[in-house]
Amino acid sequence: ALRPAEARDRLAVAAAADLRFVLADLLAAHPNLRVDVSFGASGSLVAQITQGAPFDVFLSADESLTRDLVARGLADDRARFRYARGHLALWASRALAVDVPALGMRALLHPAIRRVAIANPRHAPYGRAALSALSAAHLDAALAPKLIFGENVAQAMQMVQSGAADAALVSLSLTFAPGVASTGQRFVVPGALHPPIEQGGIILRRARDPVAAAAFVDVLRSPAARAIFARHGFDPPAP
Amino acid sequence: MADDLIVRVELRPAHGPPRSVELSLATGDFPLVVLFGPSGAGKSTLLRCLAGLDRPSAGAIHWRSCTWFDAATWVPPQFRDVGFVAQHGALFPHLDVAANVAFGLDALRSAERAARVTEVLDRFDLGALRHRAPATLSGGERQRVALARSLARRPSLLLLDEPFSALDHPARAALRADLRRWVRELGLPTLLVTHDPAEAMAIGDTLAVLDAGRVRQAGPVGEVFEHPRDAATARILGVDTLVAATMLHAIDGRGVVRAGERDLAVSAPDGLTGRVLVCVRAEDVVLFARAPDDGRNGAPGRVVRIDDEGAFTVVALDCGYPLRARLPRRVFGHLGLRVGDEAFAAIDARAAWTIADR
């Protein structure tokens, strides 16, 4: 168990909710990293950082938010970095009588799929990507009545898992999550259908131990980490 | 005479000791039966059981041809057709006087209902208060409305639990007289609880003296007041003095007892012998400064204490036994008696009722 006094010497990382599983693996692979991760919605995390939340590093799902923090003077532009590129995946329940991997995006038109969950495009990058992909595939008009919006990709996934929705457009990484992978059918949405989802992070100006923070970022961007990211459905970041 | 009302119930409340109440009354006892008894005698319990507001644990309640309660039966208050008026009237504060009176009349058609309300309000002198809210009424007016409300339904039995106790004396006397008139006019069987003897006398046909849940004595009001059957009843009925005495001889309703060191003429039921108690009401004792020389029945004694009671003065005497006399203040003034003086207490033999001393 962690005592508060100890906790203060550790690196505090605020991370977008979609990094849960990959970061758990990463930290397990690097037991020497003294890191505490707080997961949250990226927007909430930015609000909290703005109000002085004691985070050293912020890992966003959406690179644009790191620029926002720079604009607010909370970090240096040079402290920004990219650590992965996300993929969008179409996910549907295994029980559904639709062959999703075969049909690809057109599976969404199937009458058995009555509700499609995506993350809220107003603030979630995968939500925006999902909308782009739908319109690139010329499915937007047909699917508009079927769409429902989760707060984030995890909630979109929950909607499928609870049966309340039939399919979801989520991050590929989420479809590899423990306990999820075997419950549904997956189709990786071609990257061409949406702008790249560059996952960016930033070392905050208030970091107490910038050296440790930089070391953590190095680990995050190391080849070993890339392998772990790859296993979770992430591509290496654009340079 | 057939029994009209039979109550024999037991209550075992969740809190407090179990208690039981018994009463039976015949047709001839009505219309107005007064239940009289000390605090805690079970008078309210009896009325509430009759109204269906308290549910006994065991026993039975029969009213005329109906069984309201027994091991297999329970008639809820809604179906008993009784009128019940509690101490404070319990008027509905959100309804005006007319609506309160109309509350129980929803079975009538609207025109009939309006007519009935008007009739009852007039009868109870409440016409002018028709649209007043209960909160704006005086205590006496509220009681009148409560009575009007329960009578408007023409219930088959009227239950009144100390309906006048919230009123002051003049208001009480007036409402009492009115009630007596209404009940007679309507021929409505009524049970009225009181612990004021004057009220019992003024209003009742039959008096039932209740003590610890049992009827000690019941009968025509005057009869019961004048001839209590035992010492406890006599005390409950407000007999001031009970003189322990020995019956010397009794015949034809009259007798002579030895009380203290003197003989006293009394009235007595035939066949009474041995140790007896003589009941004397303080009002029936006439005081003289000197014993009159006409050989008047009574006893000499010494004034022990004098108490003012408004228009009356109460004089405590020691005649070898304690005796109290209550006489008009004015009459007492003429006697010029003071504590310690000798006096003679004249007692009418017909006013000295005798009961066995067990």
């Binding site: 919605a41 990226s42 927007g43 909430s44 930015v46 609000a47 938010l65 926002d68 509700r115 969950a117 809220n120 107003r122 603030h123 769409l147 429902i148 919006f149 989760g150 707060e151 909630q155 929950q158 909607m159 609870s162 049966g163 309340a164 929705a165 | 109204a51 269906g52 507001l53 809820p76 208050p77 809604q78 179906f79 008993r80 057709d81 009784v82 009128g83 019940f84 509690a86 404070h88 319990a90 008027l91 509905f92 504060p93 959100h94 509350f103 129980g104 929803d106 079975a107 409300r149 329960s150 339904r153």
Partner: protein
């Protein structure tokens, strides 16, 4: 300012309030009068939605109403639709969530109705229903108004249940509290402030007005 969301919230609050009044009146009266030995358990159950994290409540509601649950499956079979992500679904969630806010003020005012008045009504031949509607209800007016206003305002402010159960569909399930959350998430703080201002102002005005009309006599305290 998201007027569509506000309109939806007002509609949701209105529908919920109407349904809850109908549900809570008998429930509150039952709780007030029952001598059932497990009454305290029922009381605790009614209070629970007020005290649990709303997102937890919303999550379990989603499970309970989803097509995989027996209830959800039955509903789907009977009506052809499932409740989550629909306005009726939100109504169900809100009704459950705001239940204690409707029941508790009613209970308090029911308990204050003088027993003697009930007895008077019975002895005047009034049935239970008549006693309830003609005596208990009018005498509990302030409590019922308070219940309605609390329910309405609480439903306006509802967030967790709606977020979980609603699916954030503009004009259908996107209420004003979710809109505020979205605006904060999109870092559109100015819009969030405006929306929150309208919501808080409306709630506050409704409450203050209600309490104003309900000014019962203050307990007197010696003046100095």
């Amino acid at each position: 300012m998201d007027w569509i969301a506000l309109a939806l919230s007002l509609r949701l609050a209105a529908v919920t309030t109407v349904i809850l009044l109908a549900l809570a009146l008998p429930l509150a009266w039952w709780l007030t009068t029952t001598r059932w030995r497990w009454r305290h358990v029922a009381d605790a159950l009614v209070a629970l939605p007020m005290l649990l994290p709303p997102t937890v409540l919303g999550y379990y509601l989603l499970l309970a109403l989803g097509p995989r649950s027996p209830v959800g499956a039955l509903l789907l079979r009977l009506t052809g639709t499932s409740l989550p992500f629909t306005f009726p679904g939100l109504v169900v969630g809100s009704v459950l969530y705001s239940l204690p806010f409707a029941v508790q003020p009613m209970r308090a005012s029911f308990a204050r109705v003088d027993q003697e008045l009930l007895e008077a009504a019975w002895c005047l031949g009034a049935s239970r229903l008549r006693t309830f509607s003609r005596v208990v209800l009018p005498l509990s007016r302030t409590g019922i108004v308070a219940a309605a206003v609390l329910t309405f305002v609480h439903t306006l402010g509802e967030f967790g249940v709606v977020l979980m159960l609603g699916g954030n569909l503009p004009g259908r399930t996107r209420t004003v509290s979710v809109a505020i959350y979205d605006q904060v998430q999109s870092l559109d703080y100015a819009a969030a402030n405006r929306t929150a201002g309208v919501l808080v102002g409306l709630s506050f005005a409704l409450l203050a007005l209600t309490y104003r009309t309900q000014r019962e006599g203050a307990t007197r305290w010696p003046t100095t």
